[in-house]
């Protein structure tokens, strides 16, 4: 029996966390302000009230401490879900993530499992001060032993967080903070459905002129661009990557074989990034199908600028359409 609820991404994650906690008493939520306040974005709202302070931990303010103690709790058999307030604050925890979370399973030949989820609100467009708008996901996708996903809609948010928590592998869960409470991004979530596999990308709009691949907050930009392109008589296929490590590029290859053109879209700087990896793999797999080089629309190779400039920095609909035109002109 379908149980449909119209949810924002933020509310979907909240409900997903709640359900995971109900199903497994070993699931813990830990982070700064996640308890009484419900997190700075209120994503964990109400959970401490219902599950208690021992399952929703308002921790001291230190990211290495949050991740490092989560490692010990995982060794003990818990399934910690850590919240990092903003992506720009994850770096004090980078050591624990790369040295312990990512490697303990390998180092012990599987004797120790690291069922840890690290939730990271990421991306720009909220007019914030520095360290509050970045896209560092490529850094984590580069580390063997970690899995990285990014959701773009409420359905994936609801199911994805539960699947991530159930996974015995450590997962960085990148959440598009700009879209947390977006009414435009509300969607109906069937809380009784059988969800898609977590580590699969998906064609979210079919088209024939060119392919745009995106993830997280950029999926909305890609879809907006596709809608605008339609008015110009161009048909864009949009793929939501969803999983950043492992990358599931088969649907992208298939799409490129059909359209002959690929635009990789991301807010992150372009150099040595996920879009670089996509470009490399697509030219390797689809060399004879390409009508133009893989082009990228990304943030610039600069630190994130002051927010008064972010409209220039962040890829928008016009930059995507411009890049589609460049591809078509090849």
């Amino acid at each position: 029996m379908a149980d449909l609820q119209k949810l924002t991404i933020g509310k979907a994650i909240n409900l997903g966390l709640r359900r995971a906690m109900e199903e497994d008493p070993k699931v813990l939520i830990m982070g700064e302000d996640v308890g009484k306040l419900g997190g700075v974005f209120r994503i964990t709202d109400g959970l401490q009230k219902d599950f208690g302070e021992q399952r929703v931990l308002d921790t001291p303010l230190a990211e290495s401490g949050i991740i490092g103690t989560a490692v010990g709790l995982a060794v003990r058999g818990f399934r910690p879900v850590c919240e990092i307030q903003f992506e720009g604050f994850i770096f004090p925890g980078f050591d624990q993530i790369s040295s312990q979370v990512a490697k303990l399973h390998y180092r012990t030949q599987g004797k120790i499992k690291m069922p840890i989820v690290i939730r990271v609100p990421f991306g720009g467009g909220i007019g914030a001060v520095e360290h509050h708008s970045e896209s560092p996901e490529s850094l984590f996708a580069h580390i063997p032993g970690l899995k990285v996903v990014s959701v773009s809609n409420a359905v994936d948010a609801y199911w994805g967080i539960q699947q991530a928590i159930k996974s015995d592998d450590p997962i960085l869960f990148f959440e598009p903070k700009k879209l947390y409470h977006s009414g435009a991004m509300k969607s109906e979530v069937d809380t009784e459905a059988t969800p898609d596999e977590l580590f699969k990308s998906r064609v979210v709009r079919e088209g024939t002129t060119a392919t745009v691949v995106a993830y997280g907050p950029s999926v909305k930009v890609a879809l907006d661009a596709a809608a605008a392109a339609e008015d110009e008589g161009k048909s864009l296929e949009v793929i939501d990557l969803r999983t950043l490590s492992p990358l599931d590029l088969e649907p992208v290859f298939e799409s490129v074989r059909k359209t002959g053109r690929l635009i990789a879209l991301s807010e992150a700087p372009s150099e040595s990034s996920l879009t670089s990896e996509i470009a490399a793999r697509v030219q390797q797999e689809c060399f004879y199908s390409l009508e133009a080089p893989v082009l990228r629309v990304t943030g610039f190779d600069t630190p994130y600028p002051p927010a008064k400039l972010e409209e220039h920095y962040l890829p928008d609909l016009d930059r995507v359409l411009h890049t589609v035109d460049r591809s078509l002109a090849w």
Partner: protein
Amino acid sequence: MPSEHWTHPEPGDGPAAVAAQPSPEQVIAGLRATSEGGAELTQLLTPEGERISSPRFDRYVDDIDAEALKGLYRDMVLVRRADREANAMQRQGQLGIWVPLLGQEAAQIGSGRALRKGDMAFPSYREHGVAYTRGVDLKEVLGIFRCTDHSGWDYKAHGFHPYTIVIGNQVLNAAGYAMGQKFEGKVGDDDSEATICYFGDGATSQGDVHEGFVWAAVYDAPLVFFCQNNQWAISEPTERQSRLPLYQRARGYGFPGIRVDGNDVLACLAVSRWALEECRHGNGPVLIEAFTYRMDAHTTTDDPTRYRLSDELEEWKLKDPIERVRAYLARGGGADQAFFDQVQADSDAFAAELRDYCFNMPEPPPDRIFSNVYAESTPMLDAQREEYLSYLDGFVGAGEH
């Protein structure tokens, strides 16, 4: 120590400020290796092998009769012999590197023997003696340094976490584990458990150690922080880590700190038992600073003659952790020459067994590179594995080996 590193009170700070500031010399005297560890040093067996009484800690070693002490002596001799053998094997090119424990046997055996089966120990990378007390086969430890493995033992069965090479990481991991023990209600009754975490004086400068102190304190985690202050973090002396004796730092976090003679196995056992009991009763963490000395190099890649004087080593040799137990046992008649000879023979056999194993240690097959990266592997990794193994297969029959 250059004087510009020390902040002197300004005249305007007033007499109280002047009085509160120890001179650089006083601070160094409290920290340096050649000091006696200060008036606060807990000791039960002097370097000369005399048993001294401690009203506070005697009761924690009431059960250690001559037989039990002989056991501790044997433990120390065996791990030292194994350590020396491994050091020699590294020199012969049989190990990639070795991390000597020479001089720290009492700290490791004393604290390790204080643990119960249900406890968990989080080592750094020098805790071969603790590994031994937890029943870990030192052959498996050797695999790390012969570079055939990262950690061979079953951490759960032995209550001994994998070695941690990144300085201080394990302190937070231990804090989390101990929080888990607390959350599971494993404190305050007969079923209680505790965690012990090992780190060095150098690690106390790491943020993770500070954060571990904070976490363990605010969650009342049953965690004993066991700092082996062996005076040197590679070439950096203790006064490069702290202006305060390390055990005194605990006060700032709100839990007890104690300095024990790290070369006194009886004192290390007693103080560790006390600290673990505090944890089991739910009183939260304890910091133990085992005041000891690394008598060999940091690792076999190191050359301590570049940064420390031989006088210092000579002075510490007089405080040898094994010799004082031997003197006590011999003087009190608890052990005769036959016992000492037997222990020596046992340790030689132990070392020979290690050597034999090391020389014949099987090398892991290439597909091991790809195994257990994830609990659930990924298509990309599977493809990489398949491609590489098939590439290797191409050499078979082509005269290549």
